[in-house]
Symmetry: C2
Subunit: 388 residues, 2 copies
């Protein structure tokens, strides 16, 4: 059968902050017949995926790594390849995923300092400057959007502080919940590493760890003093593979997730080669986000991010009405065929999260945002005993 | 649309030793609409996949780990969780994948000794006994079928030697190219670890690292002296997740490859719940293998495995006719719509590999084995300038 004939099965509307709703074309690509990972047929699909990954963050020079794994594997890649045991890392922590990045760095022997923002807040740049003056850090990490809180941290003032105080320090962006839904200009901004995953703004099923590394960071990697402290996550193994596929020939270290690469390739085509520019896509994400956040405010729901200008455009995190638990809110959404997420971490019962990423934000004709808002109104009414 | 309506697109017959041809039902499951990884809908799918993974190796008690990644990630799991830095590992090396396992173990700090078989041969058990007497090994690793050579190593005499000489040593089976195509009785034989991947005998797309760990090995893991030396590959992180899903509740460490778990689940249903028993499936693999190997012998082609009783049932590795390179053989197959693999490693030009795994071996009505044999005859005739 052909891609035109394929239609995904009817299902509940999935609006958690990843995995997200994906197109029929992406799912059909994921159902591609089995193909050899080293075949002439597959090589350009992988090579183009590498190239288009660069396009999504407006980079001309970064080295993408597309490796079978969860987004989490990106932390291992960064920790094992860029930070040597005993070196210092500074983690700007705006939620659950900052905690985890620190854990991962420590596992591979880094000395980690954290600047921890209050729940829902961003980190103070003056504090970052102070920390950078106090000791030499190999990397500073910023979670662009912490999926646990929807807090959006602008990496640009952080990069400026690093350039001023400690220009050799590499700036790493955890973009798992921001790539393709928030504007990121890797080269122009001077980011050294961006890590992300396939199942959020990039609009493919989960199972692909995606990391982009600047030329400068590749040089730091290539001039390590000691060996890389992981095997599967080692760029020493993967760098020749990525270069081979991009230049049009196959190479083998570990079998890539062939079907998922077809799906990711299809999604990248829709992201980067469609009529809609990336800039327009960001605008549509901001618009969808604005509508959900305005509707929530009208219902008297408070956002988790304390500063409205530091809230994600791809998701919304809202405190529950007084006396209501997030699990109740999620159940009431589910009753209406809409899947949202509860909270994450120690305050998980007190707030809930709605994703508006990818086609949910961009393809208005689907009516996903209208439906989210309508159901949100009904759910709040039912939960608080008022009529909608 | 429904699974009955879905048909995979026409394509070349893929008979490399993985990825393999998979059923329409498996591909349709891989095109499942997006689902939350923590939803009530997904939890039993993951939980049943864990349980059925155990069934495939006739285990009642092993702990399966299903983690997004290539098969290679299994080496990291074993190296980082079971062997502490400075401990000894003994690798029984029957090809390319033995070399790689050693590299991985060394990366995580193990002292590795290898017993290296000649190309195409298996390791001598007397040598293994001698090595086990010489020092204390934490693990011994056996590559059940080395995908590079098709050499089949029976783990039973190795396990017997270990039990006699060094009963505390854990026996690890690299079953990437053997699980579901060769008989493995994990509990009865006393294997401590089996690692494999989704895209070979298990009949799903690539992207899932599958490891089974005996109760005894879990105890060794749980009584480690030092911390686990990897983050993403850490069983400390994954053990509670696997237990949660199996017991019917969701838990989060990293987003599982939801679509691929649906596909793997579908394949496991076909493997373990179909009319055909696993024993019958092994017999059909042996039969398909016997037919391919007999046809090759009739054509005067020599197998890479030197001992016919130590050759895989899921694949065949054959030396090229004199003066012919494996790339030529592969091209001649390709011209006829059949995809096979060249060699791997330093002798890669001199031999080629044919996979006969999963539905290719088991579903006789597909006629895959007939086609392999017919095309092999034509290819050898064309390559050697004789008429078929």
């Amino acid at each position: 059968m052909s891609t035109q004939e394929f239609k995904q099965a009817p299902h509940k509307l999935l609006v958690i902050p990843g995995p997200i709703e994906v197109t029929d074309e992406v799912l059909y690509a994921n159902a591609h017949p089995s193909v050899s990972h080293v075949s002439a047929e597959f090589v350009p699909v992988f090579g183009d995926s590498v190239r288009m990954t660069r396009d999504v963050v407006f980079s001309k020079t970064a080295q993408p790594f597309l490796i079978s794994g969860s987004g989490t594997l990106g932390w291992d890649q960064i920790s094992a390849n860029l930070v040597e045991p005993g070196e210092n890392a500074l983690v700007l922590n705006t939620g659950y995923f900052g905690d985890s990045f620190s854990d991962c760095l420590r596992t591979y022997g880094a000395n980690v300092d954290e600047i921890k923002a209050d729940f829902g807040a961003t980190v103070d740049v003056a504090e970052v400057e102070k920390a950078l003056q106090s000791k030499k850090y190999k990397i500073v990490t910023v979670t662009h959007v912490d999926t646990s809180t929807a807090v959006l941290s602008d990496p640009r003032p952080i990069i400026a502080a690093v350039r001023k105080v400690s220009p050799e320090t590499l700036v790493v962006l955890d973009g798992v919940c921001s790539v393709a839904s928030e504007e990121i200009r890797m080269d122009e901004w001077g980011l050294d590493v961006i890590m992300t995953a396939s199942q959020k703004g990039l609009g493919a099923p989960p199972g692909l760890s995606i990391v982009l590394v600047s030329e400068r960071a590749i040089k730091v990697f290539e001039t390590r003093k000691g060996p890389v402290s992981a095997y599967y996550a080692s760029w020493k193994r993967w760098l020749p593979i990525m270069k081979a596929y991009e230049s049009g020939s196959a190479a083998y270290f570990a079998t890539p997730p062939v079907n998922l690469i077809y799906a990711y390739h299809q999604s990248l085509l829709q992201l980067t080669k469609a009529n809609l520019s990336l800039e327009e896509r960001f605008k549509l994400h901001a618009e969808a986000s604005g509508r959900v956040k305005a509707a929530a405010a009208e219902l008297g729901l408070k956002q988790v991010p304390v500063d409205p200008s530091a809230a994600a455009n791809g998701m919304t995190a809202l405190y529950c009405p007084a006396g209501v638990k997030s699990s109740q809110i999620a159940s009431l959404f589910m009753k209406r065929g809409v899947v949202i997420a509860g909270g994450l971490g120690s305050q998980k019962d007190t707030y809930f999260r709605i994703g508006h990423l990818g086609i949910t934000a961009v393809e208005k004709s689907r009516g996903d945002v209208d439906r989210i808002i309508q159901v949100l109104k009904e759910v709040v009414a039912e939960a608080t005993g008022k009529s909608a």
